[in-house]
Symmetry: C2
Subunit: 149 residues, 2 copies
DNA sequence: TCTTCGTTGATAATAATTATTATTTAATTT
DNA sequence: AAATTAAATAATAATTATTATCAACGAAGA
């Protein structure tokens, strides 16, 4: 965690009306450095290595506050637990039903395609916030990565 | 529940390798007649009106079995509970973040658009099963319906 | 009808999350 | 810089959602 990052994180938290605490800084930093969309428990394990005294309740509370303030997003899953995403730009998700991985997938063309479609297709009495394509299936070799070309 | 439907449901359950029981028939029928994507608790309330002796555990077990056999689908949500969808054709979902409603939205053009895109965009080491567009936002008047035109 | 085996209902157990509260910490005031 | 205030944290209890267990029951075939 560089000094530059530290300042940036402080600024981000404060800018969202949050009191800057060590716990929040570390949690936010760890989320920023993760693209695996972890659950609370997984985040807890990572943070414990940095702040051994952290409480699981603090993780939950902090995640809730971050979601509320628009710093991170909750991810839609059909599993029994919640997962989080610190990436706030529009992007899609690929779900692997056996490894439970959620892989980011950004594509400008797809985004334009859908955005354009939705512009034509009017949804009345509804204030559209965002859209995301959920692609689901199974990795063929669970040990290897998915490759998008 | 007409006699015709009864026969159809029996056939559907048996056709998926399930023993035909009164509970399963009623649960499947109710799911078929619902497009609100209810949670287990909501389904339980509906079924209790028809089979007062039903147990919540039976609802959960039955839903699990139905999902496993491909009769219904679990829906991805960012809430703390699971929701179910008996509609098995490809369609998309509109999420209202304040009423927690999930509204079906089917559009052939959109489907073609995405299907065509995915055909060009190859995802390696991945066996694609399905895709769905998740649209989220808020109803402007929560008392009224969303209108897609 | 009898038998078999899966299903159901009742309930206990577990997992995930939220709530509570005393203590600690950051920010504010003096 | 010390004192004050208000909010955040840690520890833990409580709640919610879901899954597991098991005796009794019911469906389907012999």
């Amino acid at each position: 965690m560089t000094l530059r990052n530290l300042q940036y994180i402080k600024h981000t938290l404060a800018g969202h009306g949050l009191k800057v605490t060590h716990q929040r800084m570390v949690i936010y930093q760890v989320l920023q450095d993760t693209d695996t969309h972890p659950a609370a428990e997984g985040i807890y394990e990572k943070i414990k290595k940095i702040i051994p005294s952290i409480s699981l309740g603090t993780i939950y509370k902090t995640l809730e506050v971050f979601v509320e303030k628009g710093l991170i997003k909750r991810i839609n899953t059909s599993e029994g637990n919640m997962r989080y995403d610190a990436r706030m730009d529009n992007h899609n998700h690929i779900y692997c039903t056996n490894t439970k991985e959620i892989i980011d997938f950004k594509d400008e063309e797809l985004e334009m395609l859908i955005r354009d479609f939705l512009k034509r297709k009017k949804i009345g009495n509804f204030n559209l916030k965002e859209f995301r394509l959920h692609i689901s299936g199974e990795k063929i070799d669970p040990g290897k990565h998915i490759e998008i070309t």
